[in-house]
C-alpha cells in the first residue's frame, strides 16, 4: 500500500511578534480581536514536509485541514498555494471556538483521517499561542496509530516511516508503520514561499466545508479556564560588588 493521501492539519494562531498581547479585563482570556492571525509557524513546516513528500512521489495527495471560523480559509489557501491539492474547512465559531481545545480538535482530525483514509497525518508540534503540544499526540491516540513527534527528519521507507526526533537528550530515531501521525519540529525544513503563479492556481483548488456535527464529534469541553493573568512584572535585580557579597545575599534570602 503506497501512501495515498496525507493530511496536514493547520492551526491559525496569534501572530508571533505582535507588539502587545493583552489579557482581557475580566481575566477570562487574551484579547484576540484586531490581533493579526496567521498560520502557525510549525504548521508551515508541516505543510512544507507534506509537499516535499509529494514532490518526491512518496505520496499522491496532500489535503490541508483546519478547524475554526471563516478566517481559517485564508490559512488553508496559503497551504494550497504552497502545494497542497485540496482543503477541508471544519467550521467552528463563536462559543464553540472559544472553548475549542486540543481534545476537540484531535477528535475532528481523527474522524476526518478515518473518513478519508489518510495514510499520514502531519501537524505542527504545537501552536505558538497556547503552546499545548497535545493535538498531535491525542489524534494518534484516538486513531490508535503510531506517532513520530518532534520530527526533525522524516523518511518514507516502503510501508514504514523513519523519524528522527529531537528529544531532551539529543536525537532519537524510530521506525513506525503507516498509517501514522507526525508532528513537525523547527529544524525539519525551511518552508517555501508560495510563488505568485501558485497563489493564482490555488484559487482553482477546492476547499470543502463541514461542521463537527457532520463528523459526529462532540465539541463540549471538559476543561474550564478559571483565570488568565499576565506574568508577574519582572522586579529589578540587585547588583553586588564581590562574590562573597553574592553568596551572603543568596544565603540571606534562603536560596542557598
Amino acid at each position: 500500500m503506497s501512501p495515498a493521501s496525507v493530511f496536514v492539519c493547520l492551526s491559525l494562531t496569534l501572530l508571533s511578534d505582535y507588539p502587545v498581547i493583552r489579557v482581557k479585563p475580566d481575566n477570562s482570556g487574551v484579547v484576540t480581536d484586531g490581533v493579526k492571525h496567521s498560520m502557525n509557524p510549525f504548521c508551515e513546516i508541516a505543510v512544507e514536509e507534506a509537499v516535499k513528500l509529494k514532490e518526491k512521489k512518496f505520496i499522491k495527495e496532500v489535503v490541508a485541514v483546519s478547524c475554526g471560523p471563516t478566517q481559517v480559509t485564508e490559512t488553508i489557501r496559503t497551504a494550497l498555494a504552497m502545494g497542497c491539492d485540496r482543503g477541508i474547512h471544519v467550521e467552528v465559531s463563536g462559543k464553540d471556538y472559544e472553548a475549542m481545545g486540543p481534545l476537540q480538535i484531535a477528535k475532528i482530525f481523527a474522524a476526518l483521517a478515518k473518513k478519508e483514509e489518510a495514510s499520514l497525518v502531519i501537524l505542527g508540534k504545537q501552536a505558538i499561542d497556547d503552546d499545548c503540544n497535545q493535538t498531535g499526540q491525542m489524534t494518534a491516540a484516538l486513531l490508535d496509530w503510531p506517532q513520530g513527534t518532534f520530527a526533525s527528519e522524516v523518511t518514507i521507507d516502503g510501508e514504514k516511516v523513519k523519524v528522527v526526533r529531537e528529544i531532551d537528550g539529543g536525537l532519537e530515531t524510530i521506525k513506525i508503520s503507516m498509517p501514522a501521525v507526525l508532528t513537525a519540529d523547527l529544524r525539519l525544513n525551511t518552508p517555501r514561499y508560495a510563488t505568485l503563479p501558485n497563489i493564482m492556481k490555488a484559487k482553482k483548488k477546492k476547499i470543502a466545508n463541514m461542521k463537527p456535527a457532520d463528523l459526529g464529534v462532540d465539541m463540549v469541553s471538559r476543561v474550564e479556564v478559571l483565570r488568565v493573568d499576565e506574568p508577574p512584572t519582572r522586579l529589578a535585580g540587585v547588583k553586588v560588588e564581590t562574590v562573597d557579597d553574592l553568596v551572603a545575599k543568596l544565603k540571606a534570602n534562603g536560596t542557598i
Partner: protein, 422 residues
C-alpha cells in the same frame, strides 16, 4: 528562533478592482461584496500577493539593502529570487508565459518591494517600463520573441528614450534611425538608462524623420534592439546619489542595424507608444515612492518609541508626534493616489490625470517624509549606521525620473483645464 512575520502598522485602505481580466476572477471570490459602491477592500488574491511581496521584502531585501547601497553591486541574487517567486514581469500577457496582472496588483507588489529597497525595486521596475511599449504596441511575433524570453529566464530589459541633451523634452531627441533596405541604421546616444548594462534588449525611441518641420507625433519610431547588436557601446556605471545598486548607464549607438521586424507598429508611431507606456508605469513609480515613505515613517516611529529625552520618550513630545502625524497623512494619501490611478487604467479608462497626480504627489512626499525621518532620528539620522539617510538619498530621484515634478504639473494643469472646460 521562530519566523518573524513583521507586522507593519498603518491601515491598508485599498480600492477594489472591478473589471480587468485577472481581477474579474479574483473579484468573484471576495468575501466583502460592497453594497455602497465605492470600496476599499482588496480581494483575497490581492491580499495574498501583498503578503507574499511583503514577506519577501522584509526577509530578503531589507537585510541586504544597506550593503548593496554601499558597494553599488547589482543585486542580481535578489532579482533572481523575485523572478522565481513571480514578483517580476507581472504585466506580461498569459499567452507569452506571464501572469497578465493588472496595474493595481503589480503596484501592490511594487510598494512592498520598495519598502525593502528602492534601488532593487527600480531595477525590477525598469523591466516593466521596457516591456510596456511591447505589451501595448507589439505584434504577436515581437511579443512572443521578446516577452516570452523574460519568463523563461531572469533577463533584464531597459527603456531607452532619454539622451544627454533631452530628458523632459522628448521631442528634442537626436538619436537618428535611417531606413536602409530592410534595416534601420541607428546613431546617437542615450543617457541614464536603468539596467543599461544588464539588459538583454532595449526599447529604443529614435527620430526617423529628419525634417525639422515634421510633427512630433510622426517623427519618431519605437524599436526593439537586441543588446548584443554590433555597434552598441555600453558606458560606465554611473555613481548616483541614491538607489545606488541600480545600474544606470549611458549607451552609444554607432551604426547599429535593426531589422524592420523590430519596429513597433510602424515608422512614425514611436512618440505615442512611448507616452502611452507612462500611463501604466507612473502608478507603479508612485507606489514605489509610497513604499519608501512608509519605510521612513515606520523607522522614525520605531525610533521615537525608544529614544528618550527630557525625561520621556521623544514620541511623547508633541513636536515629534506632530511630525509623525503629518508623515502618516502624506503616506496614506500617496497610497490612495496610486490606487486610484491604477484602478482607473485597469478599468479601461484614460488615467493620465490621476497617474500624474499620483506620481507628482508621491515623489514630493517621499522626499519630505524621508527628510523628516532623518530629523526624528536626530544626529543618528545623519549617520550611515542608521537606515534613514539612505532613504533620503534614494527618495530624490522620485521627483526626477519617469517625468519630473515640473512636467507632472504641466500635465496636470493641462488635464485640469481640459476637464474644467467640459
Amino acid at each position: 528562533m521562530l519566523f518573524n512575520k513583521a507586522l507593519r502598522g498603518g491601515v491598508q485602505s485599498v480600492l477594489r478592482l472591478q473589471s480587468t481580466n485577472a481581477a474579474a476572477v479574483a473579484a468573484t471570490s471576495s468575501q466583502n461584496a460592497p453594497s455602497t459602491g465605492f470600496c476599499f477592500e482588496m480581494t483575497d488574491q490581492q491580499k495574498e500577493f501583498q503578503e507574499l511581496a511583503r514577506k519577501f521584502s522584509r526577509e530578503e531585501i531589507v537585510p541586504v539593502a544597506a550593503a548593496y547601497d554601499r558597494s553599488g553591486e547589482y543585486p542580481f541574487p535578489i532579482i533572481k529570487r523575485a523572478w522565481e517567486l513571480g514578483l517580476m514581469n507581472s504585466h506580461i500577457p498569459e499567452d507569452c508565459g506571464g501572469m497578465g496582472l493588472g496595474i493595481f496588483d503589480s503596484c501592490l507588489i511594487t510598494e512592498e518591494l520598495a519598502y525593502g529597497c528602492t534601488g532593487v525595486q527600480t531595477a525590477i521596475e525598469a523591466n516593466s517600463l521596457g516591456q510596456m511599449p511591447v505589451i501595448i504596441a507589439g505584434n504577436d511575433f515581437q511579443k512572443k520573441k521578446y516577452l516570452g524570453r523574460m519568463t523563461e529566464e531572469p533577463l533584464m530589459c531597459a527603456y531607452g528614450v532619454t539622451e544627454p541633451g533631452a530628458g523632459s523634452d522628448v521631442a528634442g531627441l537626436k538619436t537618428r534611425a535611417e531606413k536602409k533596405g530592410d534595416e534601420y541604421v541607428v546613431n546617437g546616444q542615450k543617457m541614464w538608462i536603468t539596467n543599461g548594462g544588464k539588459a538583454n534588449w532595449y526599447f529604443l525611441l529614435a527620430r526617423t524623420d529628419a525634417d525639422p518641420k515634421c510633427p512630433t507625433s510622426k517623427a519618431f519610431t519605437g524599436f526593439i534592439v537586441d543588446a548584443d547588436s554590433p555597434g552598441i557601446l555600453v558606458g560606465r556605471k554611473e555613481l548616483n546619489m541614491g538607489q545606488r545598486c541600480s545600474d544606470t548607464r549611458g549607451i552609444t549607438f554607432e551604426d547599429v542595424r535593426i531589422p524592420k521586424e523590430n519596429v513597433l507598429i510602424g515608422e512614425g508611431a514611436g512618440f505615442k507608444i512611448a507616452m502611452g507606456a507612462f500611463d501604466k508605469t507612473r502608478p507603479p513609480v508612485a507606489a514605489g515612492a509610497t513604499g519608501l515613505a512608509q519605510r521612513a515613517l515606520d523607522e522614525a516611529t520605531g525610533y521615537a518609541l525608544e529614544r528618550k529625552t527630557f525625561g520621556k520618550l521623544i514620541a511623547e513630545h508633541q513636536a515629534v508626534s506632530f511630525l509623525l502625524a503629518e508623515m502618516a497623512m502624506k503616506v496614506e494619501l500617496a497610497r490612495m493616489g496610486w490606487q486610484r490611478s491604477a484602478w482607473e487604467v485597469d478599468n479601461g479608462r484614460r488615467n493620465t490625470y490621476y497617474a500624474s497626480i499620483a506620481k507628482a504627489f508621491a515623489g514630493d512626499i517621499a522626499n519630505q517624509v524621508a527628510s523628516d525621518a532623518v530629523q526624528v532620528f536626530g544626529g543618528n539620522g545623519f549617520n550611515s549606521e542608521y537606515p534613514v539617510e539612505k532613504l533620503m538619498r534614494d527618495a530624490k530621484i522620485y521627483q526626477i525620473y519617469e517625468g519630473t515634478a515640473q512636467i507632472q504639473r504641466l500635465i496636470i494643469s493641462r488635464e485640469h483645464f481640459g476637464r474644467f472646460k467640459k
